[in-house]
């Protein structure tokens, strides 16, 4: 059974090691809100020093306006633990990122916001970049069957941690799920106080 998690236009960001300082520079981290970060996404690449849009940055290309799938390379999201990075990406309109690999903290932060991050081999990533060079791409993501549907050009499978997949499909409350173990937490705390009393 096909289940489309997301579908839309693909924006190719052809870089390795895109760090969270690039995704959202520090001046946007002083907010106490979870919202309002869309404009901050890739700020120093997207805007010139005078505030004008940088026409050479891929996000500003006319053909990628409205993109909802981000295609990039290895170690995306490295650096700081700022959750403002996935917030900015999601609020801009991306709900899926396809890359060769992701930094661990960024991956967890994204999943905690219901985003799907897909890792593919470097050869598959290369193939997808080549495809995106041929013209704007519209893809669909079938999470249940773990496939990226490439329009009329077939599909490509991906692997995903089963626990992550289940969370994304069921939309479980992250904290609520752990709270079902509250009795075990209480027992753990009690044992700890007896066995390792210096820990409090």
């Amino acid at each position: 059974m096909s289940q489309i998690f997301a579908s839309g236009l693909v924006c190719p960001l052809d870089k390795n090691n895109v760090d969270t300082d690039q995704i959202i520079p520090k001046q946007f981290l002083t907010s106490v809100s979870r919202d309002g970060f869309a404009e901050a996404l890739f700020y120093d690449w997207r805007y010139q020093a005078d505030g004008a849009a940088n026409p050479d940055f891929v996000l500003n290309y006319p053909q990628y306006q409205g993109a909802s799938i981000l295609l990039t390379r290895a170690n995306f999201g490295c650096g700081s633990s700022r959750e403002h990075a996935p917030w900015a990406i999601q609020q801009y309109g991306f709900n899926v990122i396809i890359a060769e690999s992701f930094a661990d903290i960024f991956f967890n932060n994204s999943v905690n916001n219901g985003m799907l991050l897909i890792s593919l081999s470097s050869s598959n990533i290369e193939m997808l970049f080549n495809r995106s060079k041929q013209g704007p791409q519209q893809w669909q993501i079938d999470l249940a069957n773990q496939e990226i549907l490439l329009g009329n050009n077939g599909a490509i499978g991906f692997s995903i941690d089963p626990d992550v997949k289940q969370r994304l499909l069921s939309g479980l409350d992250f904290i609520g799920a752990s709270e079902t173990l509250n009795p075990q937490i209480a027992i753990f705390e009690q044992n700890r106080r007896q066995q390792l009393p210096w820990l409090g």
Binding site: L29, D161, D163, G200
Partner: protein
């Protein structure tokens, strides 16, 4: 079955299984700061959840604070609101806060250890990627996002999966002038910025055993820069001696039992790691980053590489972009390259030993004309100690600015920034584009190298200066 240190600590914290391969782990210490916590507290409030263990939660203000004036207002309007939010949230939930006016306020990863909050065998989390620092004590310590901060506040636990294990064994005696900062830069240069992805790294070997706790913290601090989930070092007598008598260390009553427990925290001799790397510490030279990520490093006596030196086309392209951004050319020597700014500070290198090493290089010399140089101690305790030892006087007499504790120019969230096109010798941990200010050019170095750059006005190969030991 034989286990690694990481696996032992992980398993001793399993509260229960969530589903599949995800465990719920208990968290012993939760450190929070102003930037990544306000949305977490707002989420709790919205859901009507209390903080489960305020007694295991500690807060400080460090990221966006002014290092010149101790007031919320001096941080600027939006940062002031963040600082006020932290103070209000801590007051509401009964969380201990070391605010701007507390004598021991400082960078979260400096004050945790010096207060004895960081102890062997713990799981420690904080909404900051450099939480890996605390692994120096034989703890599992890692950075988390704001949703996870909220989760820990609510439950004192975190869902986790067992990571792969990486052993980095460094033997041999470090050469004169080679510091733990040089060691970790060399390791990242060898393994790459993604070399540790999915792994928890354990550092071992006699070069590690010989390091002080401060040095070990520098090492573990930057394990995140190779993508490792955490870095850790088995505790030993150096660890125990450091902890004894610290404010939150086990009391006299529990001390012997705690040490006995800690002595069991090591990787079994026959434990199998998923990956093992051996490095000859005696061959490591003083390091300096030349590019825009921490794997782009060279020894200070090496020329800057050419993009053509990289067989990997993507790395070659990254090198090309980095050289353009940094205003450098292939073959150039950094010892011929002028610096505009020198920053000695950050959770990587702002501890008392770092300041001693820098001050030893400075001596009675002056900061070169045209160079702006800052020393930002990591905490109130470090600042007082440095003043008592006369280090502050050495820095001030030389022309360094002597500041109040905070993260400062490492990430430039406050007004300590490097200008566009300016070149900075920095003891911090990230040389990303724009990290220290839009257009800033960062070179990561040890405190001794940074101090030498301030005096010379350009980068210096310390091994060519007689009598210097850092």
């Amino acid at each position: 079955m034989a286990k690694t240190l990481y696996q032992k600590i992980y398993q001793s914290h399993v509260v229960g299984s969530l589903n599949g391969s995800t465990d719920l782990l208990f968290v012993d210490r939760h450190l929070i700061h102003e930037v990544t916590s306000p949305q977490a507290f707002a989420g709790l409030k919205q859901a009507g959840r209390p903080v489960r263990r305020a007694d295991l939660t500690f807060a400080t203000m460090d990221h966006n604070t002014s290092t010149q004036i101790r007031s919320y207002e001096a941080a600027g309007e939006t940062s002031r609101k963040q600082l006020e939010a932290l103070a209000a949230n801590c007051a509401e939930h009964g969380i201990k806060l070391l605010d701007l006016h507390h004598p021991d306020q400082g960078i979260v990863h400096v004050i945790g250890p010096e207060l004895g909050l960081t102890q062997p065998g713990m799981i420690i989390v904080c909404g900051d990627s450099h939480t890996s620092t605390h692994g120096a004590f034989g703890a599992i310590a890692f950075g988390i996002g704001t949703s996870e901060v909220e989760h820990v506040l609510a439950t004192q636990t975190l869902p986790q999966q067992l990571a792969k294990t990486l052993k980095i064994q460094i033997d041999g005696q470090l050469a004169n002038g080679v510091t733990p900062k040089d060691v970790i830069l060399a390791v990242i240069g060898q393994l790459g910025t993604a070399g540790g992805n999915g792994f928890v790294a354990e550092f071992c070997g006699d070069a590690i055993r010989a390091m002080s706790m401060e040095g070990r913290m520098t090492l573990c601090n930057m394990s995140i820069e190779m993508g490792a989930k955490a870095g850790l070092i088995a505790p030993d007598e150096t660890t125990f001696a450091y902890l004894q008598g610290k404010t939150y260390a086990p009391s006299h009553e529990h001390w012997d039992a705690a040490v006995a427990y800690w002595q069991g925290l090591y990787s079994d001799a026959d434990a199998v790691f998923d990956k093992v790397v051996h490095i000859d510490g005696s061959r490591i030279k003083p390091q300096i980053s030349w590019g825009t990520n921490p794997e782009q490093v060279i020894a200070i006596d090496q020329p800057i590489p050419s993009p053509d030196d990289f067989t990997d086309l993507i790395k070659a392209d990254a090198a090309r972009r980095a050289l353009a951004y940094m205003g450098l050319s292939a073959g150039q020597r950094l010892t011929d390259t002028k610096v505009d700014v020198v920053f000695i500070g950050s959770c990587t290198n702002s501890r008392i030993e770092d300041l001693r090493a820098a001050a030893a290089v400075v001596g009675s010399q002056k900061v070169a004309a045209g160079v702006r140089a800052l020393v930002v101690p990591g905490s109130g305790m470090v600042k007082r100690q440095a003043e008592a030892e006369g280090l502050a006087e050495i820095f001030k007499a030389a022309g360094f600015e002597w500041r109040e504790p905070g993260c400062s120019m490492c990430l430039g969230m406050n007004d300590d920034q490097v200008g566009a096109g300016e070149r900075c010798a920095s003891t911090s941990n990230r040389n990303f584009e724009g990290r220290q200010g839009r257009g800033s050019r960062t070179h990561l170095v040890s405190p001794a190298m940074a101090a030498a750059a301030a005096i010379a006005g350009k980068f210096v190969d310390l091994s060519t200066i007689q009598g210097v030991s850092a």
